[in-house]
């Protein structure tokens, strides 16, 4: 049953009861909430924003690593040229360079997981205590699978550019004495990566700034009473005590 249908049915029942027992049920409605939403509340959009921020951070990190790999590829142009001269095919070089970048990414993934193992309990200690599902957060099989997949995809996606660059360069330029070969093309890709990094960082910073601003405004809202030294609590009155409705 969909939640809409359930809501409609409960509404109908509520109206029927209101007609049937106008004394006790007048102006009493029924509200309907899925259990999940009742427990988690309206935290979903916040978590989605957080996830988007994490993805952006990951992209910034990868762009940074791709940049470093490109710098390394420039330094390794001599090696690639020597290997080409000795008979390495382009596919073979690509395979070698990609294997290296995927291994690097996997190593990064493992380090990230280790960091997560250490950091998750401390972060959870900061979480609001009334959201029980936070207690389930931890390193499980799903997290491991996702980390593995993300590492491999990042390794291939961001290792490809430097690998292609290195295998395409003009090899005899790097074998000549005292020459470093052309780096103009590499410069362009690196500029593009830096631009992407700065752009993504800006998005993240603006988002964080807006969040801080909203929070500050929220704290400034006048609730219409002095919240100082005020205690709030919920009370549930038993239905059989014979209280009569007065409004």
């Amino acid at each position: 049953m969909t939640s809409q249908r359930a809501r409609a049915e409960v509404d109908t029942i509520g109206r029927r009861l209101e007609r049937q027992y106008p004394d006790s049920n007048d102006k009493v409605g029924v509200s309907f909430l899925p259990l999940h939403e009742y427990v988690v509340g309206d935290i979903r959009p916040v978590l989605l924003v957080l996830l988007a921020a994490v993805v952006v951070v990951l992209l910034i990190g990868r762009a940074n690593v791709a940049n470093l790999l490109l710098a390394r590829a420039t330094a390794r142009a001599r090696e690639v040229s020597i290997r080409t001269t000795l008979g390495a095919s382009r596919q073979r070089l690509l395979r070698q360079l990609l294997t290296e970048s995927v291994l690097l990414a996997l190593l990064g993934g493992v380090l990230g997981l280790l960091l997560a193992v250490v950091a998750v309990p401390s972060l959870l200690a900061l979480s609001p205590p009334d959201i029980r599902q936070f207690k389930q957060i931890g390193i499980n099989r799903g997290v491991l699978a996702f980390s593995f997949l993300a590492s491999v995809v990042c390794g291939v996606a961001f290792g490809r550019i430097p690998a292609l660059q290195a295998s395409r360069s003009n090899h005899n330029e790097f074998l000549k004495e005292g020459e470093r070969g052309s780096t103009a093309n590499r410069g362009r890709i690196r500029s593009a990566l830096v631009i992407a990094e700065v752009g993504l960082s800006l998005v993240l910073l603006v988002g964080a700034g807006l969040l801080v601003k909203s929070f500050a405004r929220l704290m400034d809202v006048n609730p219409g009473f002095d919240p100082d030294r005020l205690l709030t609590f919920n009370l549930a009155l038993p239905s059989s005590t014979g209280f009569k409705r007065t409004t």
């Binding site: 001599r78 090696e79 020597i82 290997r83 001269t85 000795l86 008979g87 390495a88 095919s89 073979r92 090899h171 005899n172 074998l175 000549k176 004495e177």
Partner: protein, 236 residues
């Protein structure tokens, strides 16, 4: 073995073209030991790059062991080079993070050779060049002469028909240079065709034929004394 007909090479520069080789006509027989000489910028290394198929932007005809290399695709030329050509460089170009043994094995690793056969070939080469004791060392633990020895072992491990050497003794002192040149002479006597580029008259004396280049034009050839020195150069 090699025949070059009207080989020319130029680079496009901002305004026009810069020539690095002009109208090179050359025939090299199997078993020759050729020295290419000339001042810096004369086109010596460019000519060597053409020989090695490291450069494929030239015009003209290049016949290699009866095959028309000028009609072949880049990949086919690379295959031809892989099978037939070994290269020795002035600065050795060994891979720093590989041991002597791994460096020598590198060209074989790019061929379809069974591991056991590869190992025996490498062992033979280490033996032949008397560097068995150095096999587990890294290039930076060797002297210049030893590094060049490894470079040569690597270049001839797959028994190439043509050995190309670009200033092979340029970074070595004279006694090491002599050893390397004697090694080249031995290799040549065992049947390897060698083309070396050098500034040194002493090294040139090991060769059987000298080709002179000047200002990107061939201007002299000891095998062809009647060659008009720069008949074309005059008409530039």
């Amino acid at each position: 073995m090699i025949q070059l007909k009207n080989i020319e090479r130029s680079y496009k520069t901002g305004a026009g073209q810069t020539w690095v080789l002009r109208r090179v006509n050359l025939e090299i027989q199997q078993g020759e030991f050729i020295t290419v000489m000339g001042p810096s910028g004369a086109g010596k290394s460019s000519l060597l790059n053409v020989f090695a198929f490291l450069d494929d932007q030239w015009q003209g005809e290049y016949w290699f062991r009866g095959q028309a290399a000028h009609t072949k695709k880049r990949k086919e030329r690379a295959e031809l080079a892989k099978k037939n050509i070994g290269m020795v460089f002035q600065s050795y170009h060994l891979l720093d993070d590989l041991t002597v043994l791994e460096n020598i094995d590198l060209p074989l690793s790019y061929k379809d050779i069974p591991r056991s056969h590869r190992q025996s070939l490498v062992a033979d080469a280490l033996d032949r060049f008397q560097i068995v004791a150095k096999k587990d060392l890294y290039p930076n633990q060797l002297s210049g002469g030893q590094q060049q020895l490894v470079g040569i072992a690597r270049a001839v491990i797959h028994k190439p028909a043509l050995l190309l050497a670009d200033e092979p003794t340029g970074n070595l002192h004279s006694s090491q240079a002599r050893e390397i040149m004697e090694l080249f002479r031995d290799l040549n006597q065992q049947g390897t065709t060698i083309v070396q580029v050098t500034h040194s008259e002493t090294n040139a004396a090991y060769g059987t034929r000298t080709i002179q280049l000047r200002d990107v034009w061939p201007v002299g050839d000891t095998a062809n004394p009647t060659m008009e020195p720069s008949d074309a150069a005059v008409n530039r």
